[in-house]
Structures are given as structure tokens and as C-alpha cells.
């Protein structure tokens, strides 16, 4: 045999990779103008909240009795001043921190707790399902506003208690959605096939269930952020959440309500912010939902 | 004059990104009292063609071109009111899923009587009598009782019969059947097929029966049209098409069937590959990539219909080659 020169080895096959699920969701989301705009608004508010100390033109806490309730467009106070003469723009900017905190945190915590309970209920079925779902139904029986107010009232005013009561309000709906989606996925043939290959419940949930249920639950939860912001504002408005002099939007709305006949435009500003932010979250949530619909 | 005349029908779905030509250039004729089976796989355009006859394809998401004449009426030109009268009285449709046609909140008797009253303007009593007669005719046992039943209270075969009764309630001239037996059990399917044949003879109906099952087509049809990728690739008298198929796709379908006569362990002859993506069809014959007779020309030239026998056409450039494949049977 002739000594062979090292031949060029056959090229290792190049494995094609399809676009992953999340990158395809992102691609579809990018084409949705409304969702992109909503996301831009959300990001802008987040950025403003993070950089509040640098963007805000004035100290949100320092007022002056001489310049109370200036109208929008006053020199030095582009959005006017509130009933204590504090700069509205700065207060709205700092208020974004509070409102985002109050809007996002309860939903986030409820998302984790609710998903866990809902997926457990949906996947285990039977008695476990009954116990979890019926306990959730008890909380569900109260209107969410009433429940939040009652819980906050019972726990006592304060930021921590307001967050806690909002979280409790959001767990039941998330559990319900999580349970419904999981029950649906559990009946799919691929879960059956996974069981048939001898996989344990934990592995099946990790590999086959989570990936298919977390998306829909997350979409639902993003839609709740706006509800949470409005409820939080409501609690503050009633004096059960954030306390003065903090510039939380709901609270600002409350304190400014006395000025509604004097300077209605300024008084409405916090409400406008609440409205814009919650609409942005809702529109983004809708866009995400349609982007996550995989065609067959 | 044929009751159905379709000339160069094109239906394009424009809902998603790329327009999808579901039907591209279909010509069909159906005589009065004749049963045509449209045979094809999923995506062949058979159901879309059928729906075009009653303008049932979603108007906003699809575009319909070409001419469709049913009983002398131009279906595309019908106004709203004319279309309502046309649906039901001139042409009626039965579906694979009876739930598409039957309303779950009314009894079957109410639904049929309602349809009769709206179309013929007769009294409720007369309408109920007609409904009863129809139930007897489609061989529903204890018809008086079943007229009082709701659709969900009946078994699959009975629901299918009730839907046929509803379709026939306004004495249409044309019955359109969209795979009405596909979801049924074998013993029930044959009952429905025999029933359709009887009704067709008795009422002198023209029937267009869409199916993916050659056996079903053989049981009901006078003529067969084989569809592939939105085109009629072969059409002709049923016996001709089954015994003397001339399009390679029809030949492949007939050969790839598992049937009793095959020896154990024999391999099935197959058509390689999969049906094409309609949004991205090759320029020539759409079947060329899967065809065992394809030549270089087939990939570039779209074949027109070639006459290959009495009333028998095949859209293929290689009909000479397929003639050679025929079993040695004397012409005629």
C-alpha cells in the first residue's frame, strides 16, 4: 500500500439551526408597530425613573407657598406646580419610580407564586388541583379593588403592606390562567410520549411543560401591570399606600383633587401618566400575545 | 347545457404574507344528474374549488377570478339577496363536520322546517311534513322522534343523514359534498355513500363529491377529476381514470395503495417527496419534482390538458409515455 498523504477530510456536516422560538417571537414583535411604540413608551418611563435624579429639573419635595398651582407652561416650571408649589415635572419624574415599583413588583411576585401553584395544580390534577383551585376561588370571590382595599386596611397603611395586598390580589387570576394552560398542555400527545419514555413528573414539567406554559402566563401577567398600577394609585389615593410627601402618581392625584377647579390641567397630569403607562403595558401585552402565536 | 361550468377558476389567499394560489386555473363541467368526484390530497385545492361554487371562501382574505356558472347563474355576480336564494335552492352543501351546518340550539325539525319556510314560504305544518318526509327518505329510524332531537343527541351517522336532509330541504339541483364521510366509521361510511347515490338518482341531482379516498370516489362517481397543487391534472369517466390512468400522479396514487391483493412483505410503490409549497411553486409542471417520468422540459413548461380518450384529459407532457404503461387492454 502506498503511504497516503493526509487527505482532506470530508467536511464535517454543517448542521442547520432553525431560528429559535424566542428570536422568532422577537422578529414578529419588531414588525408590530403598536407593540414597538408601546415598548418604547415603557422603556422611556423606565429610563426616566432610573435617571430621575439627573433628569428632574428641580427638587420634587421643595415647595414654596408663593408659587402654588402655577399653570402649565410657566417659565421654569414647564408643567406647572402643585398645591404646595412643588415642580410638577420633577414630581412626575420621581413618581415614575414609585408607580413602576407599585405596578411591577406585585405582578412579578404573583407571577412566580401563581405560576408555581397553577402549574402544580394543572399537572398534578385530582385532589391537589381541587385543594389549590378551591382555595384560590375563595379569594377570587371578592372584587379585586375591594380585596386590595380590605387587605391594605386590615394590614395597615404603608408601602410594604400595599405591595403585599396587591400581590395577594394578583395570585388568584394568575393561578387560574396557569392551571388552565397547564391542564391543556398536560393532555398533549408530547407529554404522553414523554411519560411513555419513562420520564418522571419533574423532568416532564421542566422540559415539556414550562416552555409551553410560561409564555402565555407571562403575557397575561404583563396585562396585569396596568391593573396593578391603577390599584396602587387607588390605594395611595385612599391613604393606604405610599404616604405624602412622596410623589406617587395616585397620591398626587389625591392631593391635587382640591385644585381641580383652580387648575384642572395640572391636576389631571398624574392621571394622564397613569393612563399612558397602563395603556402602554396593555398594548405591549397584546402585541406579545400575537407574536407568540406559532403557526402550525 | 351543463349545470356547472367552471372556466379558468383561480382562488388566491391573501391573508398572510405571501399570496397563496390555492386554485390556479381549474376548468370543470358537471352535467345535470351526474356525480363528479374531485380527488386530491390536502392542499390540492379540492375544497377551495368546491367552496368557490357557493362563494364560501372568506371574501376579505381570498380573491376569486375566472367564471363560475351554476344553473346559468354567474356566481361571482350574484348580489347579497340572490346569493342567499342561490345557497340552498340552487346548490346545497354537506360537510365533513355536521356541526358546521347544524345549529346546536334548535331541534333538527325546527331547522329543516325553518329552511323550507324561508325558501318556499309555506306554512309551518307543511314544512314539518316535508321535514318528516325527508327524514324518512334519508332513512333515519323513528323519524318523528328524531325531528324533536337536538344535533348532539344523535350519533355521527345520524347527524350526517340529518345534514343531508337539511341540504335537500329546498330541493336544490346541485349537491356539494365536502368529504362528508371522512370522519365516519367504515360501516357507516358505506351506508352514507349508498344513500347519496340513491338520492342522486331519485332527485336527479348533480353532485360534486370531494374526497381524498379513491375507494370513495369509485363508489359514488360517474366522473373523476384528480387535483394536484391547485390544478385538475386528470379528469375523465370514473372507469377510464381508474382503469386507464394517464397522469403519472394518478398512476402513482393507484399504485401506492395498500390493498388486499398485495403479497405479504411486498413493498409499496411510492410517490417520492411531499406535496409542494403552494406559495412557492416550480415554473413548469408542479408534479415534475416527484414524477418518475419527468424530463428537463417538464421543469420549465407548464402542460396544458391533453385529450387521451373520450372525455378523458391529462395535464401532462408525457402522455405518450404513460400510454405505454397501460396494461394491454384493447381500446374501447
Amino acid at each position: 500500500m502506498v503511504m497516503q498523504l493526509p487527505l482532506t477530510r470530508p467536511a464535517a456536516p454543517v448542521f442547520e439551526r432553525s431560528e429559535g422560538y424566542w428570536s422568532s417571537v422577537f422578529r414578529r414583535l419588531r414588525r408590530d408597530r403598536v407593540a414597538v411604540a408601546a415598548l418604547a413608551v415603557i422603556l422611556a418611563i423606565v429610563a426616566v425613573a432610573l435617571l430621575a435624579d439627573y433628569v428632574a429639573p428641580a427638587d420634587p419635595y421643595r415647595g414654596a407657598t408663593l408659587r402654588r398651582l402655577r399653570p402649565i407652561g410657566t417659565a421654569g416650571f414647564p408643567l406647572g406646580t402643585d398645591e404646595l408649589g412643588r415642580d410638577m415635572l420633577s414630581r412626575l419624574i420621581h413618581g415614575a419610580r414609585w408607580s413602576l415599583l407599585m405596578g411591577v413588583t406585585p405582578v412579578l411576585v404573583a407571577f412566580v407564586l401563581g405560576s408555581a401553584a397553577g402549574i402544580l395544580a394543572g399537572f398534578a390534577g385530582g385532589r391537589i388541583n381541587t385543594v389549590i383551585m378551591r382555595s384560590v376561588d375563595v379569594l377570587y370571590a371578592f372584587p379585586s379593588v375591594l380585596l386590595a382595599v380590605a387587605l391594605s386596611g386590615a394590614l395597615g397603611a404603608g408601602l410594604g403592606n400595599a405591595l403585599l395586598s396587591l400581590t395577594i390580589v394578583f395570585v388568584p387570576p394568575i393561578v387560574r390562567v396557569a392551571e388552565a394552560v397547564t391542564t391543556q398542555v398536560r393532555g398533549r400527545d408530547y407529554v404522553e410520549a414523554a411519560r411513555a419514555s419513562g420520564a418522571g413528573a419533574f423532568t416532564i414539567v421542566r422540559v415539556h411543560v414550562l416552555g409551553n406554559v410560561l409564555g402565555p402566563i407571562f403575557v397575561y401577567a404583563t396585562g396585569l401591570v396596568s391593573v396593578s398600577m391603577i390599584l396602587a394609585s387607588g390605594l395611595s389615593f385612599l391613604g393606604l399606600g405610599v404616604r405624602p410627601p412622596e410623589p406617587e402618581w395616585g397620591l398626587m392625584l389625591n392631593t391635587l383633587r382640591t385644585a381641580i377647579y383652580v387648575n384642572p390641567w395640572v391636576a389631571a397630569l398624574p392621571g394622564v401618566m397613569i393612563f399612558v403607562t397602563s395603556i402602554a403595558f396593555n398594548l405591549f401585552s397584546d402585541g406579545l400575545r400575537s407574536a407568540m402565536d406559532v403557526k402550525r | 347545457m351543463p349545470i356547472v361550468e367552471i372556466k379558468d377558476l383561480r382562488v388566491t389567499f391573501t391573508g398572510g404574507g405571501k399570496p397563496v394560489p390555492a386554485v390556479s386555473g381549474v376548468d370543470l363541467e358537471v352535467e345535470r344528474g351526474e356525480t363528479l368526484a374531485i380527488l386530491g390530497e390536502s392542499g390540492s385545492g379540492k375544497s377551495v374549488t368546491l367552496r368557490a361554487l357557493m362563494r364560501l371562501n372568506p371574501e376579505g382574505k381570498s380573491r376569486m377570478e375566472g367564471t363560475v356558472r351554476v344553473a346559468g347563474q354567474d356566481v361571482a355576480a350574484l348580489g347579497r339577496r340572490e346569493l342567499r336564494a342561490f345557497r340552498g335552492r340552487t346548490a346545497a352543501m354537506i360537510f365533513q363536520e355536521p356541526s358546521l351546518a347544524l345549529d346546536p340550539v334548535y331541534t333538527l325539525g325546527q331547522q329543516i322546517a325553518e329552511a323550507v319556510m324561508v325558501h318556499d314560504g309555506c306554512s309551518r305544518n307543511e314544512a314539518m311534513a316535508r321535514a318528516l318526509a325527508l327524514f324518512e327518505r334519508v332513512r333515519i329510524p323513528s323519524p318523528e322522534r328524531r325531528l324533536q332531537a337536538y344535533p348532539h343527541e344523535m350519533s355521527g351517522g345520524m347527524r350526517q343523514r340529518a345534514m343531508i336532509a337539511l341540504a335537500l330541504s329546498c330541493r336544490p339541483q346541485l349537491l356539494l359534498a365536502d368529504e362528508p364521510t371522512t370522519a365516519l366509521d367504515a360501516t357507516v361510511q358505506i351506508q352514507i355513500l349508498v344513500l347519496v347515490r340513491e338520492l342522486q338518482r331519485e332527485f336527479g341531482l348533480a353532485v360534486i363529491f370531494v374526497t381524498h379516498d379513491i375507494g370513495v370516489a369509485v363508489e359514488v362517481a360517474d366522473r373523476i377529476a384528480v387535483m394536484y397543487a391547485g390544478r385538475v391534472v386528470e379528469s375523465g369517466p370514473m372507469r377510464e381514470v381508474i382503469r386507464r390512468p394517464r397522469h403519472p400522479y394518478t398512476i402513482g396514487l393507484l399504485r401506492s395503495r395498500a390493498h388486499g391483493a398485495l403479497a405479504k412483505g411486498a413493498r409499496l410503490e411510492t410517490i417520492p417527496g411531499a406535496p409542494p409549497d403552494l406559495a412557492d411553486l416550480p415554473p413548469g409542471c408542479p408534479f415534475a419534482p416527484r414524477c418518475f417520468l419527468a424530463t428537463a422540459t417538464c421543469a420549465t413548461t407548464a402542460p396544458g390538458p391533453e385529450p387521451v380518450g373520450a372525455g378523458h384529459q391529462a395535464r401532462c407532457l408525457r402522455v405518450d409515455a404513460t400510454a405505454a404503461l397501460l396494461p394491454a387492454v384493447a381500446e374501447g
Binding site: E16, Y190, R195, G198 | T187, R257
Partner: protein, 362 residues
Amino acid sequence: MNGGSQAATDPGSGRGGPAQPLLTVRGLVRHFALPGKLLGRSKAAVHAVDGVDFDVLKGETLGIVGESGCGKSTTARLLMHLINPSAGELIFDGEKVGSRELPLREYRRQVQMVFQDSYASLNPRLTIEASIAFGPSVHGVPRRQAVERARDLLARVGLDPARFAGRYPHELSGGQRQRVNIARALALRPRLLILDEAVSALDKSVEAQVLNLLADLKQEFGLTYLFISHDLNVVRFVSDRVMVMYLGRVAEIGPSEALFSAALHPYTAALTRSMPSMDPDARTEAPPIAGDPPNPIDPPPGCRFHTRCAFVADACARRTPVLTPAPAAVLPSARPDHRAACLMLEPGSGHPRAPAAPAAAE
């Protein structure tokens, strides 16, 4: 112990030897309770599978046919232990399933299933390769090897791994997805493959390809198939033996050719004649039987088929037939492995067409 005297010569034939059935099913029952009225339990139950016995022999393809509600799919899921039986036992190659010798997990490695809906049986979030590799990794095969095996299997089922391994289910056609499902089922190197209407949803031109593939794989991996379908032509083509089910019970079981050419049970005969004719000159003129299959919630007593049977006699509603081979007097070509549950075959059953009871009996 089973097969103790009979040394297994072929290593592929497993523990019990070639004559030991691969799977023995005894007295399999599954009733589904219907939700009761408010308060109090309802006694109504769906008799999905109601006392089924059969063997699956090593290396054969056993076909199961029947109409909706006959229990064929429930049987498949019971065999796979995806639902628990109300009664009955499974013996896999001489060992009781679920016993210490053969725990469920180990049994499931050796028995795999392909489902009808090719899309629903693949996780839409996993690549093809990950779906196939899942089973082996569950059973402790290292990730790298599991992926290797997945790619190798993709090639075996006729899909180029370089093109398909990284794709997602929705990017494949129905036929390709079903190939993936077959590869996934084979990834655990099973001995028995349950095919539950595995080709029924495919287009005819693709169905033939998959049937050929299944035949190749059977040969290559020495598999045994349980092939469930409503399509008699396909079952006849692929099966060595066929079992006909009606309303949760076995109506007839026997070698494929014998069963289709000389059916013992009136239901089998009617079912065979109900298949659409392929001969333009021999269309079906009259339906072989009338009516729909009855509801399995409240099955008729005695022989379950008696409500639709052309040969019904008084005895049929009273006495439940057992699987019997045809007596030689009735059918000279009768084979002992071809049996049907019909009173016309049982000597002294009280049916006018039944053979006379032998003198010894009662």
C-alpha cells in the same frame, strides 16, 4: 420459570425464548366513570375496554381494527400504561409488568408508541433533535451520546440530520413529522412499537412511504409491531395477525389472510365488505350492516354485536360468547389460532346455527 427448558438461541429473541409471547394481555378492563349528578356518584361508566385477552408474538405485526368506541386506542394507552387499567395484567416476555423483575420504567423503555397526530406529539418548543434525544437522556444516556443517537436515527428514518436536526416541528410536513415521531420512539431501542393510527392522518402518497419505512425499520431493529388502524386495507397489508374489536371486546383474532378471506365473526365480515370497492364494476350495492356502532356507555348485554347482526337469535342477548376456533365440522380449513367470539361457533350455545353440543358436555 418460563422458557427454562428452552434455551434462547437467538439473543434478539430475549429472555423467554422465541416461543414466549412478547406481550401477554390478560383480562384487561378499563371503565371510565362518568361525572355524576350533583351530589352522589353516578353508576354510569364508559366500558371502553371490557375484558380483553391476547398475545403479541415476537417479531410479528399484530393489527388491531375496529370502529370508534371499540376500545382500540384505549387498549394502546393501557398497554403503554398511560392510563391505569381497572383490572387485568400485562406480562412482558415472561415477566409481570410492574413487578420487581420488570418495573414500569424499564418496561416503558422496551415498549414505545407513535401517536396519530404528528404535530401534537412533538413539543413545539424543542428542536427535532432535542425531542428525539429526550428519552435516552431520561434513561441516563449522556447528553452528547443522546444527540448522536438522535442524529443517527434521523438518518435512518430518511431525514438528513444536517438539515433537520435543528428544526422545529412546525417547519416540517406531516410525513416528515411522523418520521421524527418514529425516530423518537426508536431512540430508547424498544422491542415493541405501538402504532396508534400512525399513518391515518397522512396523505395517501406519503402514507405509502411511511409504511415502507416501518417495514424497513422492523427488519433492521428486529421490532415487533402492534398496528392500530381503522383502515382495513392497510392493516391487511402490514399485519401477520389481526384482532377485530367491537365495543370493548375482541370479536375475532387470527392470521391476517384467514381472517380477511374467511371471517368467522359476522361483524368482521360486515366490516370487510364495508370498505369501499376499488372495482368500478363491483360497487357496493347495499350497505352490509345498518345503523351506527352503539354507545359504549351502555353496551348491549350478551353478544355486543347482536343489535346489528344479521344472524341474531334469542340466545345472543342472553349469553356472552367466548373466543372459539371454528369447529372443523363448520369450516374444514379452520385453524386453532383463528378464533371468534360468536355463539354460532360455540357448540350447544343455543343459537340455531351453532354446532351440536358434544355428548360429553353437560
